[in-house]
């Protein structure tokens, strides 16, 4: 029940920030659409899963800042590879055994890998993530396990 109210409030805030028109008619249309979406979400049994118990804490902010730095560095590395005249690439598929316990943690890990250019998570088999990497240096960014440890540290729900 609490989740449903929370969803309604955040949807209302989202609608208000997107709209910019605050006449009675438009506002009532917004309220109707919020209620309809909440009803649909409830019908889909969305709240049974662990997705909605995810709350944002300070350590997540730290992870985002670290991830932003990683994304920046990887972008520079990939840009260098693309601009180098000889195109020094050695594309490879690598497997990495991840240590996350929940599905959500695994999704965060796989998405973080894909977000950093030069590495794309291609498949997930149980707890093994299969990653395509552009060269050995970028592959090492996944294989050294730093990102894996950080995601496991923030995953605790």
């Amino acid at each position: 029940m609490f989740n449903i109210i929370g969803l309604g409030i955040s949807l209302a805030f989202f609608w208000l920030s997107m709209s910019g028109h605050y006449t009675t008619f438009v506002l009532s249309l917004g309220a109707a659409s919020v209620l309809f979406v909440v009803y649909l979400t409830r019908r889909m049994d969305f709240f049974d899963q662990d997705t909605f118990q995810f709350s944002i804490k300070w350590k997540h902010l730290g992870y985002w800042i670290w991830l932003g730095k990683e994304i920046f560095n990887a972008n520079i590395a990939v840009a260098k590879v693309i601009l180098s005249p000889k195109l020094k690439i050695s594309p490879r598929m690598i497997e990495f055994k991840s240590s996350q316990k929940t599905e959500l943690g695994l999704v965060i890990f796989a998405n973080s890998i894909t977000l950093t250019p030069g590495t794309v998570s291609v498949d997930i088999e149980d707890d093994k993530v299969i990653v395509h990497a552009l060269n050995a240096e970028l592959a090492e960014g996944v294989l050294n396990g730093e990102m894996d440890k950080k995601v496991t540290a923030v995953e605790g729900l």
């Binding site: 693309i82 250019p117 291609v122």
Partner: protein, 112 residues
């Protein structure tokens, strides 16, 4: 004075974003196969798009527009890896091979 600083900062950010998008486009042409081209597209998705949005936020100042731009950048961060993974996974399921991988390059490193 403040205007000049903000305008030039936003110009630098947008210029850098455009350069990264150009690099991504160049990579799409230069790289040899599907999987490697995906990495070039990643440059466009992440740093290119985010730098452009950051430059636009500086132009918009503290307003509703900036809030919308922040939301757009968040959505890009959540949706772009998901769609990239979907496309890459489809290619793997279809059995698309990567170019020129020697056997000894296939590293498998076990943890724990």
């Amino acid at each position: 004075m403040i205007d000049i600083i903000i305008n030039s900062a936003s110009a630098i950010l947008m210029g850098a974003g455009s350069v990264f998008i150009l690099i991504g486009a160049l990579g799409l042409v230069r790289l040899p196969d599907f999987y490697t081209r995906m990495h070039a597209a990643g440059v466009t998705d992440t740093l290119g798009a985010e730098l452009l949005l950051l430059g636009m936020m500086l132009q918009a100042g503290l307003s509703l527009v900036t809030l919308k731009l922040v939301l757009i950048s968040l959505f890009i961060f959540f949706t772009s890896p998901t769609s990239t993974h979907a496309v890459a996974n489809a290619a793997r399921v279809m059995g698309l091979r990567t170019v020129s991988i020697p056997e000894d390059n296939l590293i498998s490193k076990e943890k724990n």
